[in-house]
């Protein structure tokens, strides 16, 4: 089916599919081999729990997800990233796994996952899943075995000590809830090591059986059909005395071994590392051309800087961090995002910037959590449509693969009165019906209450209403996702910031094989002029990419553009015919 053909499919038809049996789609299945697909893909991050409930038990599930695949295809999503769905006591949103080979019963079965992935593939979408490999839940059978006695074969799958005075230089990550990285276990008669919550004991990567088991888990889910993994908390796998136990050479060796196995046994798979570090440290997780590690890494510092740049009405917070971001192998890619399921990460800003960000974006102390701010995109931007568009425009045009967070495409809000990070994990808002169309269960049975406030609640903000309205944020997002996907330069092209005397304007070029795209962004809430030095394109014509509008030809003098408040323009630079 052509793009136009898909456009013609009525919104109502797609909406019908969200509650009924999916329409059979034979469109464009995932191609046979395309090893760099991950560089051009647009990602969509979602929680199975929060997306759609098919059986009315108040919790989202894989069958509900299958019912909504048409929606994701309509949006232009290339790859779905599923947050953890393995069996878990759910004391940390599923990042505490108690069985890697099973699915949380609330969500469905391994067979459901298999069907979901197959149906996504039929629609040309790929699927990656979260894999938590640094630690398990304390409810995992391995840990139950390990704590039972010192000579249990699983004892050395974890890290034990008679004292808390080991690895003392390892920082405590969840400073709000933990006071030490060691917790006493009565049954074991020893302390066990954990970098995150005390109910998440760290696996002992010095044990070759642990490493082999992780390989087997990876193989198992590839066989189910997964296209890749988002590897959680990779900097912390190994621990060594006298270090801060982050980014150790042993950890890199393990990742290189994992990658070698994946490349040897599979094709077109992707490993995405979560390493919340400065860019110069993160690049190590790409490995080298000869000894690659992960295909993708998140660019964490970029995101808080974008918020700072907007509030300061100047580009330096962004250009500074891009300048500090080293070059990466041509077969590697950054993963970039505006918001995700965790709080707005402030670990990667300096102390005075953090105070500033807290002052700016978290006027209520409840919004502060660990070192971040727990808000969604829309409330962070005061529900400003222009700002949301500007941010999404940046997300889709800066170097890296964009990752959208479920609900942000319609401008969902958050509930800061929910515990921990649940405030940004409320049910997807499908329509204005009961429970926002997420579930037919009783309200009281829902895993979390949906938003019902007059500004962000499901009556005001939902997919159905925005699908019917061509000028909605949802339609806007879909159009720009489509533009991005038409031009490989966004995913694979080089990046070059342009000088501009006006600090409120952030202009840059993306280029690939002679194709050049110019992006000009106004970070100010006031209209701004900018003069750009485009003389190297003298005689060419900038053509606006959405409407294909031809702008004046580039001459010998600097090129003048005026930008409305918080607006941005994308151009292709084309040879003039005149």
């Amino acid at each position: 089916m052509t793009t136009t053909g898909r456009n013609r499919r009525a919104a109502a038809e797609i909406m019908a599919a969200t509650t009924a049996v999916p329409t059979p789609v034979t469109a464009h299945p995932v191609p046979a081999s395309d090893p760099l697909w991950f560089k051009r893909a647009v990602y969509y991050e979602l929680l199975v729990r929060a997306f759609a409930d098919s059986n009315g038990d108040g919790v989202g599930d894989f069958r509900g997800l299958i019912d909504h695949l048409d929606y994701l295809e309509w949006m232009g999503v290339d790859c779905i990233w599923l947050l953890p769905f393995n069996n878990s006591p759910l004391r940390d949103g599923g990042y505490d796994i108690s069985d890697y080979y099973d699915v949380l019963p609330d969500y469905g079965s391994v067979d459901d996952v298999r069907e979901f992935v197959a149906k996504a593939h039929e629609r040309g979408m790929r699927v990656i899943m979260d894999l938590v490999i640094n630690h398990t839940s304390d409810q995992h059978a391995w840990f139950q075995q390990a704590r039972s006695s010192r000579d249990n074969p699983y004892r050395d799958w974890y890290m034990w000590s008679d004292t808390k005075q080991r690895f003392e230089q390892a920082r405590i990550i969840f400073v709000d809830s933990e006071t030490s990285n060691w917790t006493w276990d009565d049954q074991a008669g020893q302390y066990y090591f954990h970098r995150f919550f005390s109910h998440q004991p760290d696996l002992n990567y010095d044990n070759p059986r642990v490493r082999e088991e992780i390989f087997n888990i990876v193989r198992f889910w590839f066989e189910v059909g997964m296209d890749g993994f988002r590897l959680d908390a990779v900097p912390y796998l190994f621990a060594r005395e006298g270090t801060n136990c982050e980014n150790l050479p042993e950890t890199h060796q393990f990742l290189a071994d994992l990658r070698a196995m994946v490349d040897r046994e599979y094709t077109d798979k992707v490993l995405l590392a979560e390493a919340n570090q400065w860019p110069e440290d993160v690049v190590d997780y790409f490995g080298t051309e000869e000894r690659p590690e992960c295909h993708m890494c998140f660019n964490f510092p970029l995101m808080p800087r974008m918020f700072m740049a907007l509030r300061r009405e100047q580009r330096y917070p962004i250009t500074e961090i891009l300048e500090r971001t080293p070059h990466i192998p041509s077969t590697a890619q950054w993963g970039i995002f505006l918001r995700n399921h965790d709080e707005l990460t402030l670990e990667m800003v300096t102390d005075d910037e953090r105070d500033y960000m807290w002052g700016e974006y978290a006027s209520d102390p409840r919004m502060k959590l660990n070192l971040g701010i727990r808000r969604r995109l829309a409330p962070l931007l005061n529900n400003g449509r222009r700002q949301m568009e500007l941010f999404c425009g940046l997300l889709l045009s800066l170097p890296g693969s964009p990752i959208l967070y479920y609900g942000d495409e319609v401008g969902m809000g958050d509930n800061i009165y929910l515990g921990d990070r649940d405030g940004v994990r409320t049910p997807m808002q499908w329509n204005g019906d009961r429970n926002g169309g997420f579930s037919r269960s009783d309200f009281a049975q829902l895993y979390l209450p949906p938003l019902m406030d007059p500004v962000y609640g499901f009556a005001a903000v939902n997919v159905e209403a925005q699908m019917r309205n061509e000028s909605s944020l949802l339609h806007w997002m879909r159009r720009f996702v489509a533009v991005r996907k038409r031009f490989a330069v966004f995913g694979e092209g080089a990046f070059e910031a342009l000088d501009a005397a006006n600090p409120s304007v952030f202009a840059f070029l993306r280029s690939l094989d002679g194709h050049v795209v110019l992006c000009v962004n106004n970070l100010s809430r006031f209209a701004q002029p900018v003069e750009l030095d485009l003389r190297k394109f003298e005689g060419c014509t900038p053509v606006e990419m959405l409407g294909h509008v031809h702008f004046p030809r580039i001459g010998e003098l600097s090129y003048l553009l005026t930008l409305a408040p918080h607006s941005f323009l994308w151009f292709t630079i084309e040879e003039s015919n005149e």
Binding site: Q314, T319, A497
Partner: protein
């Protein structure tokens, strides 16, 4: 046809054409009533079409004074290469086209080549000597930078900035001397001199600096522009809200999105680093000296002299100062008795928000020439570093006022409300700059202890404001209230 024959003809053409051409150039700072132009040096530095020639001209005025300008020219035929800017053409007639060689990549290239390779070129009345060098001589793109007024800066291949001096002064270059001293001392926030071009005139003891090559700083914005961006945001917030007392106003300043205070603190930090580096400079012209009692007295006398001269003009707005004379004098006289007043070092000399450039790597300090109107010997004098500090602090005041003047007329009903915000902005940024500066220099002997430092700073701020009042009276009378308000408040 030999080049020599051509040159005689060109010389004659130039001497008449430049009389009207020079005053039209942005960088020309002299009197427009030129009585004559005399070619002092004219020699080809590159053959070809067009020919590029080094050219120094003496410009004479009615009062018998003479100033020398550096005007490298390109000479070709009207049918040949032509600069894109018609204003660069000096002469276009009789089958001869003469234009500013710096106006086009191809005719600027020979000059860059000499600088880049460190060559020596014999001319007619002297020689060009390039130092430093080792840069790549082939540059595809040489384009003028439209920022500076008194010089012409060229961006070479996107990597270097070639600053071509237009006014020729046969004396050691303050800019070169300072940027070398700072680079030698390991100060990172300056664009180091990579190469330079001197002109040695036969029989002249001192060479004149004609050009200076530095790394080109990408993605830069002047501190002044960034400060105005911040103020624009603050005033917009202020127009929407009418907070009450003084404490609430300050809160707005700190929380306004465009807060500049962290940048001001960073500026305080690099300013301290710059002065600490200069305090370790060596050599007869650069090494620091202790500030003697005699020097303090001399400074106090100078400032008092400036004040009295200003009041003596008797013009209307300045008369407001009369009742405050005694209080101002007391502030100035306090200078005489400062204990352990610190070191006199070589300073920037013309330090304000327009002289610092924000790039992705932080702040860089620009233009070490000192106050361009002063003679070289005056600019090379050693001073307390607090003179630079005073200059930057005054600049915060100016930014707040200029942003407001650009926004509305003083008769606007919102003026007082916004002006209060502007004062809060200036005060918050001055505090951020000053406290960081003091924190970084404490215990260094550079400046006196807290009370003494404040006395010196205030006296220098008063001196700067007096200079500003005099300048605004002559050039921008509507801006006189900016420095005048500072002087009136300084005694409060």
């Amino acid at each position: 046809m030999s080049v020599a024959v051509d040159l005689a003809w060109i010389r004659e053409t130039l001497e008449s054409a430049l009389v009207s051409w020079l005053p039209r150039q942005r960088w020309y700072g002299g009197d427009t009533a030129i009585s004559y132009v005399r070619c002092e040096e004219l020699a080809p530095i590159a053959d070809g079409q067009p020919v590029v020639a080094a050219c120094l001209v003496a410009v004479g005025f009615d009062d018998a004074s003479e100033v020398t300008y550096n005007v490298p020219i390109a000479v070709g035929s009207p049918a040949g290469l032509r600069p894109s800017d018609p204003g660069a053409v000096v002469h276009d007639d009789d089958g001869l086209l003469v234009f500013d060689a710096l106006a086009d990549s191809r005719t600027a290239a020979p000059l860059w080549r000499i600088v880049a390779l460190g060559e020596t070129v014999r001319l007619n009345a002297g020689r060009l000597i390039a130092g430093g060098g080792g840069l790549t001589p082939l540059a595809a793109d040489i384009s003028p930078l439209v920022r500076e007024q008194s010089n012409t800066s060229l961006v070479v291949g996107g990597d270097h900035l070639l600053k071509v001096m237009r006014r020729v002064v046969f004396a050691p270059s303050v800019e070169l001397e300072m940027s070398r001293a700072l680079a030698d001392a390991g100060f990172e926030h300056v664009a180091p001199a990579q190469a330079w071009l001197d002109y040695e005139r036969d029989g002249e003891p001192h060479a004149a600096l004609l050009a200076l090559a530095q790394p080109y700083l990408h993605n830069g914005t002047e501190g002044w522009t960034l400060a105005l961006t911040s103020l624009r945001d603050l005033y917009a917030v202020a127009e929407e809200t009418h907070p009450g007392g003084a404490a609430e106003r300050l809160l707005t300043v700190e929380e306004a999105g465009g807060s500049f205070t962290s940048e001001a603190a960073r500026l305080g930090d690099i300013t301290a680093q710059m002065h600490l580096a200069l305090a370790h400079a060596t050599g007869a012209d650069l090494a620091p000296e202790p500030i003697t009692r005699g020097l303090l007295i001399q400074w106090a006398d100078e400032i008092l002299g400036d004040l009295d001269a200003l009041i003596a003009t008797g013009v209307e707005p300045v008369r407001e100062l009369q009742p405050h004379h005694a209080a101002l004098k007391a502030r100035i006289d306090a200078l005489r008795t400062v204990a352990r007043p610190g070191l006199a070092i070589r300073i920037h000399g013309d330090y304000h928000l327009g002289q610092v450039l924000r790039t992705d790597a932080g702040w860089t300090v620009l233009d070490f020439e000192g106050e361009p109107r002063r003679p070289v010997e005056h600019r090379r004098r050693r001073h307390s570093p607090l003179r630079d500090v005073a200059g930057m602090l005054r600049s915060f005041d100016y930014a707040a006022s200029v942003a407001l003047i650009e926004r509305m007329a003083p008769t606007d009903p919102e003026w007082a409300h916004l002006a209060a915000h502007g004062r809060s902005w200036a005060s918050a940024n001055r505090d951020a700059f000053w406290s960081t500066y003091v924190e970084r220099t404490v215990g260094s002997r550079l400046i006196p202890d807290a009370g003494g430092a404040l006395t010196l700073r205030r006296a220098f701020e008063i001196q700067k404001a007096i200079y500003e009042v005099a300048y605004e009276l002559a050039h921008r009378p509507s801006w006189v209230p900016i420095p005048l308000a500072f002087l009136l408040e300084a005694t409060a």
